[in-house]
Symmetry: C2
Subunit: 352 residues, 2 copies
C-alpha cells in the first residue's frame, strides 16, 4: 500500500481551540479540475458540465462522468458517489509528527440516492407511498453501510441556497469509520443524561413538548414534529418517533408509514410558508452503528433534523455568518412564533 501523504490521503484533523474535528478529503485533490469540470455559474456541481455526462446526470439511464450509466430506475436509485469525500481503502496517517498536529484515520463510503425517476418531484410533492419507499431505502442503506461503519450520515441538501445545483430530488449517504463531531457530542450528552436519569433525554424532552404544546408543528400516530426549544434556524424542526427507537432500522412498518405521512405534512407546510420549493438541509441522527451495534446504545433516540435557511420570504434567507461563525448562533423570530406560523400554514401543497 502507498505510504501516507497528508496531501493525498484522507484523514481527519483536530482543532485544538474548538475541540472539533475536520474531515480532510485530500484524495479528491487528485481528480481533474480542468476548466471544463468547473461550472460557470455559482454551484458546486462538478458533473453537469462534464464532457460525456448527460445534462441531468441523476435521471434514469443518464450517463455519468467516467462513463457510468444510471439504471432505468422506477423509484429510488442508489449509486456510489463518483467523487467520494470518503474512500474505504487507503493508508492511515502515521502518529503525528508533533503532539499539537493531531490527525486520525478516516475510512468510509459515499453514496448518492435519487428519490424518484421524475426530476421535478420533490419529497413534498411525492405521494405518501413513494415517500415510504424512500424511507425503506434509507433503512436498507443504514442496514448495509452500518455493518462496517460507525456512523452513517443520511442527509439531503435541497435547493440552490443549500449548495445543491441539481434539482433532481436526491440525498446523500456518507458512512464513516468514525463518529463525526456533532453526533458525537449528541451521543455524549444523551449518554450522560441517561446515566443520571435512567431515561432518554429526547423522550423526556418530547414529554415536556407534549405537555406545554407551544412548539408542536404536527403529531400523528407514531411521530411528533416540533420546533426545538433551542432551534437556531428560523424554521428549524425535529421529527421524533413517540416510542423509544434507536435507529431507522428499528422502525416498525407502521412507524415507517406514518413517518412518510408526517414528512409529507411537514414538507408541504414548508413549501406553503413562502409559496416556494423550500430549501433546507436535513439529516437523520440515530444510535451509531458498526462496532456500536454490539454496545448498549439505549441512551439514544432516533430523530431527523431539518435546517431550512429561509427567514422572511422566498428570497430572504437567514445568513449564519460573522457572529454565528465566530461567537454563537443568533435568531430573531422565537421558536414559538415559528411553530405558530407552521401550525397555521396548511398541509395541503399550494400547487395541488
Amino acid at each position: 500500500m502507498a505510504e501516507f501523504d497528508s496531501n493525498k490521503h484522507q484523514h481527519t484533523r483536530y482543532n485544538l481551540l474548538q475541540g472539533q474535528w475536520v474531515l480532510v478529503s485530500a484524495q479528491r485533490i487528485n481528480r481533474p479540475w480542468t476548466g471544463q469540470t468547473e461550472p460557470t455559474k455559482e454551484s458546486n456541481n462538478k458533473q453537469d458540465s462534464l464532457p460525456g455526462a448527460t445534462s441531468n446526470y441523476l435521471a434514469p439511464g443518464a450517463l455519468r462522468v467516467g462513463g457510468k450509466k444510471n439504471d432505468d430506475y422506477k423509484n429510488t436509485f442508489v449509486f456510489e458517489n463518483d467523487f467520494p469525500a470518503l474512500l474505504s481503502t487507503g493508508p492511515d496517517p502515521p502518529p503525528p509528527v508533533h503532539p499539537l498536529l493531531v490527525t486520525a484515520p478516516a475510512k468510509g463510503t459515499c453514496r448518492v440516492m435519487c428519490f424518484h425517476p421524475r426530476g421535478d418531484l420533490t419529497l413534498a410533492r411525492m405521494d405518501v407511498p413513494d415517500i415510504l419507499i424512500v424511507i425503506e431505502e434509507w433503512v436498507r442503506q443504514l442496514h448495509e453501510l452500518g455493518k462496517d461503519n460507525a456512523w452513517v450520515q443520511i442527509f439531503e441538501n435541497k435547493g440552490e441556497p443549500m449548495g445543491c445545483s441539481n434539482p433532481h430530488p436526491h440525498c446523500q449517504i456518507w458512512a464513516s469509520s468514525f463518529i463525526p463531531d456533532l453526533p458525537s457530542r449528541s451521543d455524549k450528552n444523551q449518554r450522560e443524561y441517561f446515566k443520571q436519569h435512567d431515561s432518554q433525554l429526547l423522550l423526556d424532552y418530547l414529554a415536556v413538548e407534549l405537555e406545554y404544546r407551544e412548539r408542536l408543528v404536527a403529531v400523528n400516530a407514531h411521530w411528533v414534529c416540533i420546533v426545538p426549544f433551542w432551534a437556531c434556524w428560523p424554521y428549524e424542526t425535529m421529527l421524533i418517533p413517540k416510542r423509544h427507537v434507536l435507529r431507522l432500522t428499528d422502525l416498525t412498518p407502521d412507524e415507517r408509514l406514518s413517518g412518510a405521512e408526517i414528512i409529507k405534512i411537514l414538507l408541504c407546510k414548508y413549501d406553503n410558508l413562502f409559496h416556494t420549493s423550500f430549501p433546507y438541509c436535513m439529516g437523520w441522527h440515530g444510535a451509531p452503528t458498526g462496532p456500536y451495534l454490539e454496545t448498549d446504545c439505549s441512551h439514544w433516540q432516533l430523530h431527523a433534523l431539518y435546517y431550512p435557511c429561509l427567514l422572511r420570504s422566498a428570497s430572504i434567507k437567514k445568513h449564519m455568518v460573522g457572529y454565528e461563525m465566530l461567537a454563537q448562533p443568533q435568531r430573531d423570530l422565537t421558536p414559538e412564533a415559528a411553530a405558530l406560523r407552521l401550525i397555521e400554514t396548511p398541509s395541503i401543497h399550494y400547487l395541488d
Copy 2:
C-alpha cells in the same frame, strides 16, 4: 420593569443535544416588518429600502432609519446598531418552567463601525495608515465596551455571499454580558492546556508552525499569518501576534502598525487569488473582558480568524451544508495546499 416574556425579551437558550447556546433576540420581533422594510432582492439589509433613509446609509452625513444622521466622518465612524440583537436593558428570564427548557439572561450592545468615508474602499485597498486607524478604533471599542461586557465580538461580514448587502466597508461589534459558545470553548481548551503545560496553547502551536513552515502565509516583525492545521474553510487563515498578548488593548504601537501591515498583505493576497473582492467573515478572539479583566487570563492568546467562503474561483464557493451542518466540516484542498497558493499569490493588489 416589564415582566419577562420569552416572545418579547432577549435571552439565550441551551441546546441539550449539542451542549450549545443560541441567542434569541426576541425583542427584534417588535420592530416593523412591513412590505417597505423588506428588501426586494435577497439580502438581510433592512435599511436600504426604508423610507427616509439615504440609499447608502453608511455614508458620511447619510440619514439612517429613524431619522438619525451619520457624522460627516473623515476616517472611522461608530454608531449604535439601529436594530440591535442585544440591548443593555430589559427583564431577565425567570427560572425555567422545566429543567429541560434551559434559558439564561442576555444583555449587551451592538454597534456598527465604518472603516472609511469612501464606500468603495475595502480594507485590502486602504493604505496602511488608514488600516492602522481601524485597528486603533477596534482597541478603543474593546476598551470601552469591555468595561461592562464579558465578551466583545468584533466581526466583519464582507461580500454578498456573507450576507452583507451594503458594500460600504464596515464591521460590527456585538458586546455581551456572557461569553458566547465558540469563544467559551476556546477559553476552556486554552485554560486546560495552560494548566497542563504552563505555557499558552496558541504560542506553542505557533512555534510548531514556525518550525515546520508548511502553513505560513506571511510573517512580519510582530505577527504571523497561517492557515491553521485544522482549518475548515478552503482559505481560512489566522493572525497571531508573536508575543504573548491577551487582548487588542494590550498591543504596543509597533504591534498595531505591523498588524495593519500584515492585514494589508493578507487581504491583497485574498483579492488577488481569484481577482475579486474576496468575501469573508473575520473576527477577533482575545481574553474575555468585563468581570474577567480582574481574573487571570494568561492562558489566552489574541488572534484574528478569517473565514473566506470561496473555493475555486470568484463564483464557486464552498457550501458548508448537509454533512457539515449535521456531522462535521469537510474540505478537499489541504491546508498546506491552500497555504502554498496564498504564499505564491502576490501581495500587491491586482488593481493597483
